[in-house]
Amino acid sequence: MLQKTSAPNSRLIILSAWLYSKLLYLGPAEFRRAYGRHMLQTVVMCWQEAYQRAGWCGVIILWPALFTELIEGLLAEHITVMCPPQKLGHVYIQSAALWCLFALGGLGSFVFARYPGLLPMSDTVTWYIYQCFRLLRMGGHIVFLFFLLCGLSFVVVAGKLIFAERRRDILEFLTATIGSALLGTLISFRFLGAYTTSELVGWCYSLLVVLCVLAISGVGICGALKCRKQAANMLFSTLFTISLYTVALGAALVATVGLMAWVGVQGAATVSGNDVGTFANIVIALLAVVAVGSLVFILRRGFSVLRLF
């Protein structure tokens, strides 16, 4: 690629090209195969021009803008690949499955919070089991933060796509994800109690860790069976959905906890348990209407997808 150009190829340009070619692997495989080589060729020409103009400083100065543009573009391409209209049915099924998982996690955390005797700490074996559960829950919190960070970047890029490219399919997908997460959070707050929040997140995401391990094992098996590409796409699609779902859940958690704290300070209501005051109940009811609306929307779309089969 670098032979027919008259511009010099410093070691820095060669190193930069190598690094850029590795970063291209963050994007969808199809896009990389079709355009990766040409993108690399174009960016090398940019660096060569910058090198001729300002030496190695020119190459270094170009990096931050190229890096952010590359990451944002590849995320946008991932979202575009994941959300074509024909795949929306899969997205809704994933969303519903995740919602069930959260409901299961919420129920588990509720049971453990209400009946702590289920995990007696009297003998050594049960103590070790308890510590394993604690570690799993802590791991769940870390995974939650990881997905939250990934999901936030996805949401920013998806928002830009919705407004700049009028992507209605992405808007539908975000509505479905946020709606179902909001509903799950509201149910957990209203019926299971606010004190279960940390437990809920911990247990749900520890379940996700287990599922991810199973999925990765599945990818390994599929890889051995030579359908690695489909398996990798499926895994990435699931991780992508979880990331967006986490952002929605995080936003719902922050909004509800913030609301409760605010009501606790401003009003006479208490923050703990279900007693969060009249104002909070009204707002929660309004949020529930939005969430139920989203769920109806999801179900309606789900039925239309089912009719296709």
Binding site: F31, T42, E69
Partner: protein
């Protein structure tokens, strides 16, 4: 869907990057880096299109049949054979014209409302 059945207006409004790529290809076929340089010149550096945005836009424009790839090389001896050249299709030209007319309408409207102040048509052209 063939281009005869599609109205150019269906694709409007275009994103700034897509419009600038169409304009860059208006006077002939170009490769990716040349498109980037032309956009920098025609927007006086106000719009910077990076390689990822450029090739994402190219991908969508190829799918929408606004542009097409060409096999010919302007000068095969000097040029890298692995470069891809793109040219404007007839439908792409129609879409570009429709978008420019839409923008022109906005400019006329802004002028009628004295939003542009003392700025005259020739001032804009001369800029």
């Amino acid at each position: 869907m063939s281009n005869e059945q599609r109205a150019p207006e269906q694709l409007l409004p275009l994103t700034p990057a897509v419009l600038q790529i169409l304009l860059a290809l208006a006077d002939g076929e170009r490769h990716g880096y040349s498109i980037m340089q032309e956009i920098a010149i025609q927007t006086q550096g106000t719009l910077k299109v990076g390689p990822t945005t450029l090739y994402r836009s190219i991908k969508h424009m190829l799918a929408a049949e606004l542009i097409s790839e060409t096999e010919e090389r302007p000068d095969p001896d000097l040029d890298d054979e692995r470069r891809r050249y793109y040219r404007l299709t007839d439908f792409g030209r129609q879409v570009a014209v429709a978008e420019i007319k839409r923008l022109e309408h906005s400019v006329v409207l802004a002028r009628s409302k004295h939003l542009l102040g003392g700025l005259q048509a020739n001032t804009v052209e001369g800029a």
